[in-house]
């Protein structure tokens, strides 16, 4: 049931596919991340307007959107197939980047990989903060850990590889880069991304007592705001290269 044409494909037919993922789910594969974000935004708009049949989960990812729990109480896959045909006929509006106010994330740019990222970008270490914080980011999707958002927006020339050796422990609040993405670790965990800075108050990233629990929900525009280590009040400044982790 691979579609020939399909959702979000102003670039021409044949690039998007609607794939079955069991009797009650569809995986929509888009040509790239930009189209996936646009298709995800379109799904949310239509769900908001009540134009989408009951779907339990809408899960965007790097270049796909998963629709899971389609008519899950009804046996058989007829509802799934009906929705697949409908999706394949959609015209999807291009992504509008600035239609919502951005969430501002304060960052102390003093990460242990700052020099390495500066080298990869071909700039001075002091310019990393300026380049990174000038970028209009957007949460493309969540994964890895509850509340960990994959933020897109960096131009291709600023994409960096992961570290060859992952760290066994990255502190909560670490601001990190890998490939096209920027992310902020909501809690201490192992990690292989390049660390350029830290958020002074990482506990706002994930709060199960709040709705939504994640600060960085898919679709959210984000800007990083450089702050001085001294301005971040009572927080002890980490030693250079300190990855000993969370406070």
């Amino acid at each position: 049931m691979s579609g020939t044409g399909g959702p979000g494909s102003p670039g021409g037919p044949g690039e998007s596919r609607v794939l079955p993922a069991g009797p009650h789910a569809l995986l929509v594969e888009l040509p790239d991340g930009e189209h996936a974000e646009a298709f995800h935004a379109e799904l949310l708009r239509r769900r908001e307007r009540g134009e989408l049949p009951a779907v339990r989960d809408i899960v965007p990812a790097a270049r796909t959107v998963l629709l899971d729990g389609i008519a899950e109480r009804t046996p058989g896959s007829r509802a799934r197939d009906r929705l697949a045909r409908e999706l394949a006929s959609w015209r999807v509006e291009p992504l509008r980047r600035e239609d919502r106010e951005a969430v501002e994330v304060p960052v102390i740019y003093d990460g242990p990989d700052l020099d390495e990222v500066a080298r990869l970008w071909g700039v001075g270490a002091d310019e990393v903060a300026a380049l990174h914080s000038r970028t209009a980011f957007r949460v493309a999707f969540c994964g890895f850990a509850p509340g960990f958002g994959y933020l897109t927006g960096l131009p291709e020339r600023l994409h960096v590889p992961r570290r060859t050796t992952p760290r066994t422990r990255v502190r909560a609040g670490a601001v990190a880069l890998a490939g096209p993405y920027t992310g902020v670790y909501p809690r201490p965990s192992p990690g292989g991304w390049q660390l350029v800075g830290r958020m002074p108050d990482p506990e706002v990233l994930w709060d199960p007592g709040r709705d939504p629990a994640a600060l960085l929900v898919p679709g959210t525009p984000v800007r990083f705001v450089p702050v001085e280590a001294g301005a971040a009040a009572a927080l002890p400044a980490p030693r250079a290269g300190d990855i000993r982790a969370d406070m």
Partner: protein, 327 residues
């Protein structure tokens, strides 16, 4: 804690806050009980013997995959629901889920309990009592669910349910993300909800507890990434003899058997996964995703086992013969 009050389903809305006894204080100072079985908890279960891995589970956290939060919840959901029904609870009340070696607990009030799911010897203060049917446990007595004789995971339901603080609307432990109550350890106390009545034991009658599978047969819907594998790989999956690997856990049922060969070797960008997805890691041995699965994954999914078939997978002990068949 942010301002907000908890409503059924666990959403926090502006305008009130939760206090430690589980009540909600609205801005005006009016108190409302949180709607949940047996709240507020005044009694508890003491953990006497935690067993290899015993967790609190309910119906889990569906609908939060976009935040990176998985389903969790009882792996053998029909068994958990049946155990709840037999003690007079709502079907999604929180129960204990054991792994192979059972567990023992001591309630500090009299409680009606059911041990179901995997078959095991059940005792109260050392005296044998019924498995799979309601039993009375006096205050201070030890309810012991022994090692599983058949199957893998036993479920212990208590009238009134277990009521540790919910996280995102659920009391389930999620071993991948760390959400929910930690796995049981000796000496821990678990809050016990209030039972509705002190009436007669609920009638058990003939109860349809399914036995553990001698051979696990899992139906497969091919896709979404079956085209990342050779034609021979899909035929192998649907014809070969596999066994349940001892490395299986609540995240996935791992398998031993022939490796599945990919037709393309490039990297798959992370994409959303479903419960029951058969993911094929680089070693080629299929893994069936269970309730604590990651919400996104970067290895191709060759097919999907429908959810209703996963209860049997939850009871398949390591070494069980396993066949995948076309759904």
């Amino acid at each position: 804690m942010p301002d907000g009050h908890v409503v059924p389903g666990g959403h926090v809305m502006p305008g009130g806050h939760v206090v430690p006894d589980g009540h909600v204080v609205l801005d005006a100072g009016r108190r409302l009980p949180v709607i949940r079985p047996g709240a507020p908890a005044r009694h508890c279960l003491h953990v006497v013997r935690p067993g290899a891995l015993t967790t609190v589970q309910d119906a889990g956290r569906p609908g939060l995959a976009h935040l990176g939060v998985g389903r969790a919840g009882a792996l053998d959901a029909p068994a958990a629901r049946l155990a709840n029904r037999l003690v007079g609870n709502p079907p999604d009340a929180a129960v204990l889920e054991t792994t192979l070696t059972g567990c023992a607990v001591r309630p500090d009030r009299p409680v009606v309990a059911v041990v179901g799911g995997a078959g095991c010897r059940v005792t109260v203060d050392g005296r044998p009592v019924a498995w799979g049917a309601p039993v009375r446990v006096p205050a201070g007595a030890v309810l012991d669910a022994g090692p599983a004789g058949t199957g893998l995971r036993s479920y212990l339901a208590f009238a009134g349910g277990l009521v540790p603080d919910p996280v995102l609307g659920s009391r389930s432990a999620d071993l991948l993300s760390g959400l929910g109550p930690a796995p049981l350890t000796e000496g821990v106390e678990l809050p016990l909800g209030e039972a509705v009545s002190g009436g007669p034991l609920p009638a058990a009658g003939p109860v349809p507890w399914p036995g553990a599978p001698a051979e696990l047969v899992l139906p497969v819907h091919p896709g979404p990434r079956d085209d990342w594998f050779t034609g021979a790989a899909l035929r192998t999956l649907l014809t070969a003899a596999y066994r349940v690997s001892p490395h299986s856990n609540r995240i996935g049922l791992r398998t031993e058997g022939p490796a599945l060969e990919r037709s393309r070797t490039d990297e798959l960008p992370s994409e959303g996964t479903v419960l029951g997805a058969i993911q094929v890691p680089p070693d080629g041995r299929p893994v069936v995703f269970l309730n604590d699965r990651p919400t996104t994954g970067g290895y191709p999914v060759i097919g999907v086992v429908p959810e209703r078939a996963l209860a049997a997978a939850a009871q398949a002990v390591p070494g069980t013969r396993l066949r995948f068949v076309r759904a």
